[in-house]
């Protein structure tokens, strides 16, 4: 716990207990007097840049079929904070601009939708093409879209599907690039070039977003990797080969961000074999090289932890989608879960590192929206849905999103989450700086709110560091930021962490900060433990003997879709020391920040449309942030 650091009556001359030794070091990093030149300054990031690395537009075949009519340019306009008209004709604007955006349309079938709608004879000659055309024509676009997703997942796309190398395909990719070039505005708004590689064999989600570091001239030298054979492949190892070749050919670095392990039916984070091949050192090293980040939350559920895997985690049951794979064709079984969630992947990664000398699951965390509307609108009170039919309407609370008649798997529209945005600690708002921060994993994931979260690990943080007025400067001086590795352990020392969170300036107060530790013991078993390290209303809330904290309370008025910031704290900061450290054991530490309860988008819908939600609909939530871990490896 921290002591309130209010130094009202003390001046510099009288005060020495913040550590004079640090002061000299600090001044090097951050001079107390501003320099004449405003550009001289700190060499570390001072503000998290919020954005979305996962957004689809009408250029994605399923988004088009769902009725999306907005393209990449409208997507950038909206993200920059301008008002646009949505595909359902509704004006929409963000509460405040995002700092950056990646338009990540599905690489398979760029240009498919215009081709289908144009009545391409080859496509319409196939029974499927004809069926979709008729469905869309008769106003059943959403059914057609689901059917397209299913057929795609089952590898049953009709002949005439546009492939890389065709004019339609090249034209679509070039327009995606041109739109990013037109809206990229270094220092103010960054448009990163990318696409989604949608490996979905058997309906099992192994999707990855691919991002380019450099500009359009370089990205134009290649066409995206697809999954349809013979040009593409559904095996991530082939994507990594494509990435290596692309770096060679274009001179632009690339990275891949996977998402929705929760819909992969146990295939996202394998430990024994993948695609019929045993996991080996090469697999571990290659995955580690290309997959620096994982998208841990988005509209189709949250993938940090699962209540079955973490029965002692009272907050694990949050926006969980665990009924089946992506198209609902194969119901979920419990044995699949271990290979789907980030926390268990972190744990298994320690085992694999012990076994092969490389950890394939040493990834940082980000969010994405995965909206198929060209609108990254993920605020609970301003949620424009995942797909065009889910844009605000009085019906969206009662319709089904996935409904597989064969298996009976149904996911309702209300189960879709208004989540989330990715925060990147970049030194400036440019493509290169954001990409580099992603590569060093200095990122965190939020379910929508823009809270600032700092997390530093080192061997010498002390309790009073939490009172320092320059916590970031101190953090970088004495430790490593989120996404980093603790240096070698000094004899007899335990790692210390400087942890801080500041609420969204427009949002709700904070409930608590938790540090989640996972480790590998001498017997080769993995464990996890959750520590409440600092919390709001600390004068009234005390943990019990087991460390469990009473709930923060609840001020949500569901009927009126309001809450008040009368509970919780606007800011939390502390220094935490691992009480059970063993220098011989591999470990990881990451932070989870929880807000006080607030109304979910469903509550705003009921309030605004005056309709009724279905029984069992979740009406409030505790929004949260997850940071990238800091790892400890013995003998490094």
């Amino acid at each position: 716990m921290i002591i309130a650091g209010f130094a009202l009556l003390t001046f510099a001359a009288e005060q020495t207990d913040t550590g004079t030794a640090d002061q000299a070091t600090l001044e090097k990093v951050m001079p107390t007097k501003p320099a004449y030149s405003p550009y001289v300054g700190r060499n570390f990031p001072t503000r998290p840049l919020f954005g979305d690395q996962h957004l689809h537009t009408a250029f994605s075949m399923d988004a088009g079929a769902f009725g999306c009519r907005l393209g990449p340019r409208e997507a950038y306009r909206f993200a920059r904070g301008e008002e646009v008209i949505s595909s359902t004709g509704q004006p929409v604007k963000l509460s405040r601009p995002l700092d950056w955006l990646v338009v990540s349309d599905h690489s398979d079938g760029f240009g498919f939708f215009p081709q289908l709608m144009g009545g391409d004879p080859e496509l319409l000659a196939t029974p499927q093409g004809r069926k979709w055309y008729d469905q869309i024509k008769s106003g059943h676009g959403a059914e057609a879209a689901m059917d397209i997703i299913v057929s795609f997942g089952q590898g049953k796309m009709p002949k005439g599907f546009p492939l890389p190398g065709t004019r339609a395909y090249r034209g679509a990719w070039q327009e995606i690039i041109n739109a990013a070039e037109a809206f990229n505005d270094p220092g103010r708004f960054t448009a990163i070039i990318g696409y989604e590689w949608t490996s979905n064999t058997g309906g099992n989600n192994l999707h990855r977003n691919v991002l380019f570091r450099e500009n359009g001239a370089k990205a134009s030298l290649v066409e995206p990797f697809t999954t349809m054979k013979p040009l593409g492949s559904d095996n991530p190892e082939d994507l990594w080969k494509w990435m290596a070749a692309t770096e060679e050919k274009t001179g632009s670095e690339v990275l891949a961000i996977a998402h929705n392990g929760n819909l992969s039916n146990g295939r996202m984070f394998p430990t024994v074999e993948a695609f019929g091949k045993k996991i080996d050192r090469e697999y571990c090293e290659t995955r580690l090289k290309w997959e620096r980040l994982y998208e841990v939350t988005q509209t189709k559920g949250t993938g940090e932890a699962h209540p079955y895997l973490s029965p002692n985690d009272e907050f694990a049951n949050f926006e969980i989608w665990d009924k089946a794979n992506l198209d609902g064709s194969v119901p979920k079984t419990k044995d699949m879960l271990e290979f789907e969630y980030a926390r268990s992947a972190y744990k298994n990664g320690l085992k694999l590192e012990e076994q092969f000398g490389a950890n394939p699951y040493k990834f940082g965390l980000v969010s994405g929206s995965d909206a198929h509307t060209a609108l990254s609108a993920m605020e609970e009170d301003n949620f424009f849905g995942k797909t065009t039919p889910q844009e605000p309407s009085s019906e969206r609370l009662t319709k089904a999103f996935i409904n597989n008649p064969k298996t009976g798997v149904t996911v309702m529209d209300w189960e879709v989450g208004a989540s989330g945005y990715a925060a990147v600690w970049a030194t400036e708002n440019t493509r290169a700086a954001i990409f580099d921060a992603m590569k060093r994993r200095e990122t965190y994931s939020t379910t929508g709110p823009r809270m600032a979260v700092r997390f530093f690990g080192g061997w010498n943080f002390e309790a009073e560091d939490a009172n320092n007025r320059l916590p970031a400067a101190l953090g970088y001086t004495k430790g490593v930021p989120m996404g980093g590795d603790l240096p070698d352990a000094p004899a007899g020392k335990s790692p210390t962490f400087l942890v801080a969170a500041l609420k969204d300036p427009m949002g709700a107060n904070l409930d608590r900060i938790q540090v989640i530790k996972g480790w590998l013991d001498a017997q080769g078993e993995v464990h996890e433990q959750i520590h409440n390290v600092v919390w709001g209303d600390a004068d009234k809330r005390k943990p019990d003997a087991k460390g469990k904290l009473p709930p923060v309370g609840d001020t949500v008025d569901v009927e009126n879709a309001t809450w008040s910031n009368t509970i919780g704290d606007p800011e939390l900061i502390t220094v935490w020391k691992d009480p059970n450290f063993d220098a011989k054991q591999r470990a990881f530490y990451y932070v989870r920040v929880l807000e006080i309860p607030t109304p979910r988008w469903t509550a705003y819908d009921v309030k605004r449309f005056g309709n009724k939600a279905l029984p069992g609909t979740t009406m409030k939530l505790q929004e949260r942030a997850y940071t990238s871990p800091i790892w400890y490896t013995p003998g490094t």
Partner: protein
Amino acid sequence: MNRILKEPLLHFLLLGAGLFMVYGLMSKPGDSNAPGKIIITQGQIEHLVDGFTKAWLRPPTSEELAGLVRDRVREEVYCREAVALGLDKDDTVIRRRLRQKLEFISDDVAALVEPTDADLSVYLQAHAGKFRVPQQFTFSQVYLNPEKHGKNLARDTAQLLAQLKQAGDKADLSLLGDAFLLDQQFTALPASEVAKQFGEKFAAQLSGLSPGQWQGPVESGYGVHLVRVSERTEGHLPALAEVRDAVRREWDNARRLEANEQFYQNLLKFYTVSIEQPAAEPERKIAAIK
């Protein structure tokens, strides 16, 4: 010449001429029973070969090519007959696609126009708000966390303010107020960035403070702040050369929307639109189209 190129009427005439030509090509030859002519050009054959090669990763054999050409002829015959029978009418997909194609043409016509610097300057002036470099603030702030002061917040704030005023720019901020994750000193921070970090309310109050002395309390979403603005740089409209790309992008977009609208309005003049009103439900009355 440039003036003429920009004239909407010219665009309209060009489009009209284009449409007329298309119509001429599509319609059946004359009223006579003479057979219609179908010519498969060398260019079309190359296009067929191209498409086949991309799909199959090899060129077609001569037999396959003959098949492709036969199919192309069949497509042409069916298309012409289908249009003659009016099968394209009342087909939502075909109608949408036709509308889209015409919109593409009008988009392209709008894109033909190359703006002069004078055009862009006029646009820049008229939409100054879009391109203005915002006000910038060099300021210091000390934060008070309401959770830590409770009922004494007002008293503690007043006390701290008095001390800050006494110390002026010599106050050692690193020991004052409560620990806070955001910086205490900012140099030339644009107002838009102030809003992102401290919220709109705080940013709005900042521009009302007179530079040079400690003032407050200034409220934000986090709590209260005491603030000393040492320098304020007023916002200004940048010269065209600095923002030409952005102005061009917005000008193109505005031009496109305007040209499309004008094109539609010109076409609409050729029609009288009457809409049957539902007698029973006056609340569903449909306004006149314009």
